[in-house]
Amino acid sequence: MRLLRLREVKAFFQGHAASHQLGWNWIPRLSLSPKGLKILAASLSCCRWLSDRQRHELGPSHPAGPGPLSGLGRYLQHCPHRSPLLSVVLYPQVTPQAPRGLHCSTAAHNPDSPLVPRPPEPQRGLVKALAPHEELFRQAPDGVRDKASFVQAVQNFTQYNVHKRGHVDFIYLALRKMREYGVERDLAIYNLLLDIFPKEVFRPRNIFHSIFLHYPRQQECGIAVLEQMENHGVMPNKETEFLLTQIFGRKSYPMLKFVRMKLWFTRFKNINPFPVPRDLPQDPVDLARLALRHMEPDLSARVTVYQMPLSKDSTDATDPTEPHIVGIQSPDQQAALAHHDPARPIFVEGPFSLWLRDKCVYYHILRADLLPPEEREVEEIPEEWNLYYPMQLDLAYGRSSWDDYEFNIDEVEEGPVFAICMAGAHDQATLAKWIQGLQETNPTLARIPVVFRLSASSGELLASSSGLEETPLTPPEGREEEENNQQRQQQSQS
């Protein structure tokens, strides 16, 4: 990894032979095992969070907010614990999909607020100048906010502003507005925004230009555009490259950012072995189905909807009578439950949280305690089992230690989990209905005592999430949410 970084910097200074070379030569180095991937992704999310926090600490007016090169050193300096994990991933420019999709990943960004650095001007004072081109976005006659009207607004700006006065402000504004228009994942729009920059003006003309930050404000604005693309997982294309070379030249920071995106996107785009679809279903039952499938490793497991919500309108969790109950159980779990000793109680536990992109859902599990070692049945090979060949050899010696490649791992054994469910309400009455439903396919369950061990969920999270499950995020809530995340991450890291 460190090698790679050097190469990349070199490539940048050699004037971009880089993207392809870097793009392909180094793929084998990244072949990690799934476990390794998880660690990497986890450290990524950690790194992301650090970078976000950093930005908050430094304040948005810090000139090098997303500064590509110097940023690395700073992260390491400010980093409270310089863990070796961090040194694995030095780049903050990472597609957000990777950490977010992970099981229980807490990296739920509200893509609105903190990632786009505010233009420096507003903070400097003039409140009136906060949004000099706001009216362009207010014009929509019929109130429809879509791609066409956004493009119209941008075109209006370029049309009436032949000299492109205030284009940096406008681009920052447009970046902030993109989400409202639902175009934050549209590559064409980003290219359109970059196209606003006047061409050839900001290109460094000599070596000193390129050593010292040439037209810093414009370069930063260009980086901001790319940064927002990155945060939404939009891969830049040839046109972006062409625009950037036209605007800033090859030896510029936006170009460096572009090269890095080209390099790292390809590596991190599919780093999550458990991908979550980009658009989550709105229906809570569908969402629960998706989440359960996401958690259950056995592909032959069956999802059962034990109870549909009362009606389409009353899907909110406050309706206590008919919340949805969706459960999943695999044939192996069913068999394990059938063999469970009815004298031992089994437990319904939860709620546990699961993050799917920006949504948090809660699930409950049906589990039993681990059998004490003296009561476990030793699995013996029946004498007359296989009609065709011996299942075991009658020899006095086993595998030699030189051929024993098993690592000596201390494994913590846990009790079996028999089923998972997601319900609209987390009270005992609802979960009892789930157990009733399970009894239809697991007759033995009727004889086993079931103990409900429902933890009082941490109120704050639950409150915000019960809103979250049904309604899309509203910006202020999202902000709060993210801070919660950060707190939780801090807790989990400490």
Binding site: G233, V234, M235, F265, T266, K269, N270, L299, P382, E383, E384, W385, N386, L387, Y388, Y389, P390, M391, Q392, L393, D394, L395, A396, Y397, G398, R399, S400, W402, D403
Partner: protein, 621 residues
């Protein structure tokens, strides 16, 4: 025949063994020699049991004349009267054909003469199998009837049972079927669901359950059925054990489903058989109550060797038909037969047919020897080799035939479809490979126990001995197991091949020792290793068989024995290099061995239950 497949592994088998001895003694009063060591097992220890395989087993001139008299009409019947295409189209063997088969006595080929059968020896049975296999549907029907269906009665039945059932079965008045497979149980005896419960008067068992894919299920009136019964074992606990029953259709409660629609052998009748409260008298228990597992194993092990000769018969016919085509079809003013790539295919077919024929008759001859030979490994090897060679050769033949091989107007595609089942039934080849390797390793492991223990404990003498052996091996010493030379069993024209065989056997035994040292009893889990061990052993057996047979042909002065020498030398050389490769793969840290990678790939595919790679045209975003 009766001895074939006896596989003594435990006391229970020994009990059964006594029953078998009693039976065979009545047929062959001369039995003084001790049970002979099986040939294949000794290969694991680096020994070639010459007296087992050299000279190639022969039959006397009288016996040969006798069988030829018999073969003539059967062959005439099969070539002139059996319409295989019609049987395949209609999915049924016509009644008159079945009647003719019965009148020829083909339903009782191995039933002893005192019960009205032909009482053929294994060699004779193999010879007839060559002709019967000209129509695979008929061959499978007959095999299901006598190789497994009524075999239980011959092997484990009491005198009363034999007297009662065998005559009618031998005449074909009754057809037999073998009911073992269940929806949930293929080779797993523990998951048999069919149950037999003793009635209150203790005179009947009540049988309930269903069996699937029963060949002759719709025709048969006598079934060998395996079912779970409750057995009280020595320490008083009640256990479920498999018991074999002879069940007549007349007992009631037996229904068979509609015939399955199959890829090949469409003329044979395969269907489900359901038993519903079928009352089976206790006298119809085959063998002992709770002893059904061993009965099933013996039946299955005994039926396999005949596939070799059957496939060889089919291949010989196929070579004739294909050669006819290749020598008449003209392209670019040349016959197909003049093209090297076509010639190669004929050499391959001839070679495979020769090898499997040699293996089959060698095994049959071993089984016919007095004594009590345990040839189940050999039989399994014959089955694996011949079924795979059949598939390969038929495929090559179709390649020669080009488009006409693919058309339904010609018989070739039918042969292809028919031969596919050979790799699957009577124990799939994968399972049989496990059987071959594990049985041999068990034998070698027992004998090497002391040595392995000494090595593990660090006994200096043993270690020095082993090291010096290995050093001598690595210096490329010549291995001489006494096949060649002045009094050698192999003719000098195949001296090289014999040396190759000796060398392979020697290094094979070394590898076996290393494997046992490395894996011990956990080798059961190393299926890829076991597969290679089995492959090597099959090749070794094939080499032995062809060397033995070709040497005999030279000695007796058979026609075209020089051709046989050619085939033997080709096969031995090919097999030698295959063995060397497999042996090197079995070394530790061998660069040829890709097992780890292969396991990884399959693991990932199976985890996803799909092809894992992205589409070649995909982009990252």
């Amino acid at each position: 025949m009766s001895g074939c497949g006896l596989f003594l592994r435990s006391a229970a088998a020994a009990r059964l063994g006594r029953a078998l001895v009693a039976f065979t003694a009545s047929r062959r009063p001369l039995r003084t020699s001790p049970p002979s060591q099986a040939f294949a097992k000794e290969l694991f220890l680096g020994k070639i049991e010459k007296k087992e395989v050299f000279p190639f087993p022969e039959v006397s001139q009288d016996e040969l004349n006798e069988i030829n008299q018999f073969v003539g009409p059967v062959e005439k019947f099969f070539t002139e009267e059996v319409d295989s295409q019609k049987i395949d189209r209609e999915g049924k063997i016509p009644n008159e054909t079945l009647e003719k088969l019965k009148s020829l006595g083909l339903f009782g080929m191995q039933v002893p003469e005192e019960y009205g059968g032909l009482g053929l020896s294994n060699t004779m049975y193999a010879r007839l199998g060559e002709i019967i296999s000209l129509d695979c549907s008929i061959a499978v029907t007959l095999a299901a009837h006598q190789a497994i269906g009524l075999k239980g009665i011959i092997l484990a039945g009491s005198e009363e049972q034999k007297a009662r059932y065998l005559p009618k079965l031998a005449s074909g008045e009754h057809v037999a079927a073998f009911c073992l497979t269940e929806p949930a149980s293929g080779s797993d005896a523990a998951s048999i669901r069919t149950r037999a419960t003793l009635s209150e008067d203790k005179k009947h068992y009540v049988l309930n359950g269903s069996k699937v894919w029963i060949t002759n299920g719709g025709l048969a009136s006598v079934f060998t059925v395996f079912a779970k019964t409750e057995v009280v074992d020595s320490n008083g606990s009640v256990k479920d054990k498999v018991t074999a029953f002879i069940v007549e259709r007349d007992f009631g409660g037996i229904t068979s489903g509609k015939p399955e629609d199959k890829l090949g052998i469409r003329g044979s009748n395969t269907c489900e058989v359901h038993f519903e409260n079928t009352r089976v008298p206790v006298e119809n228990v085959l063998g002992e109550v709770g002893g059904g597992f061993k009965v099933a194993m013996n039946i299955l092990n005994s039926g396999r060797f005949s596939m070799g000769s059957a496939v060889a018969g089919m291949l010989k016919k196929l070579i004739e038909m294909t050669a006819e085509y290749a020598c008449t079809r003209k392209q670019f003013n040349r016959n197909l037969s003049e093209f090297g790539l076509i010639q190669e295919k004929f050499a391959l077919m001839a070679q495979k047919a020769y090898v499997m024929e040699s293996m089959a008759y060698l095994t049959a001859g071993m089984l016919d020897q007095p004594g009590f030979p345990d040839c189940s490994i050999e039989a399994a090897m014959v089955k694996v080799f011949s079924s795979e060679a059949a598939w390969q050769c038929v495929s090559e033949a179709l390649q020669v035939l080009g488009g006409s091989g693919y058309m339904r107007d010609y018989p070739y595609e039918r042969i292809l479809r028919d031969s596919r089942i050979l790799l699957i039934f009577e124990g799939t080849n994968e399972i049989l490979r496990m059987y071959i390797a594990l049985t041999g390793l068990q034998h070698a492991g027992r004998i090497l126990t002391a040595r392995v223990k000494q090595l593990k404990q660090g006994n200096v003498t043993t270690i020095m001995e082993t090291v010096s052996q290995r050093v001598r091996d690595s210096l490329g010493r010549t291995v001489d197991l006494g096949l060649t030379g002045k009094l050698g069993a192999v003719h000098p024209s195949m001296e090289d091949s014999a040396h190759k065989l000796e060398q392979n056997v020697h290094y094979f035994s070394r590898t076996v020792e290393t494997l046992l040292l490395r894996f011990g009893k956990t080798i059961v889990e190393e299926q890829l290793v076991l597969k290679r061990v089995a492959n090597i052993l099959i090749n070794l057996y094939g080499m032995t068989a062809v060397l033995s047979r070709a040497s005999r042909s030279i000695r007796v002065g058979l026609q075209n024995h020089d051709h046989e020498v050619l085939l033997a030398n080709i096969f031995c050389t090919e097999a030698y290099y295959q063995n060397l490769f497999a042996l090197s793969q079995l070394d530790k840290y061998s660069p040829e061995n890709l097992d780890e990678l292969i396991k990884k790939v399959s693991q990932q595919v199976l985890e996803k239950r799909a092809y894992v790679c992205a589409h070649p045209l995909d982009w990252t975003s």
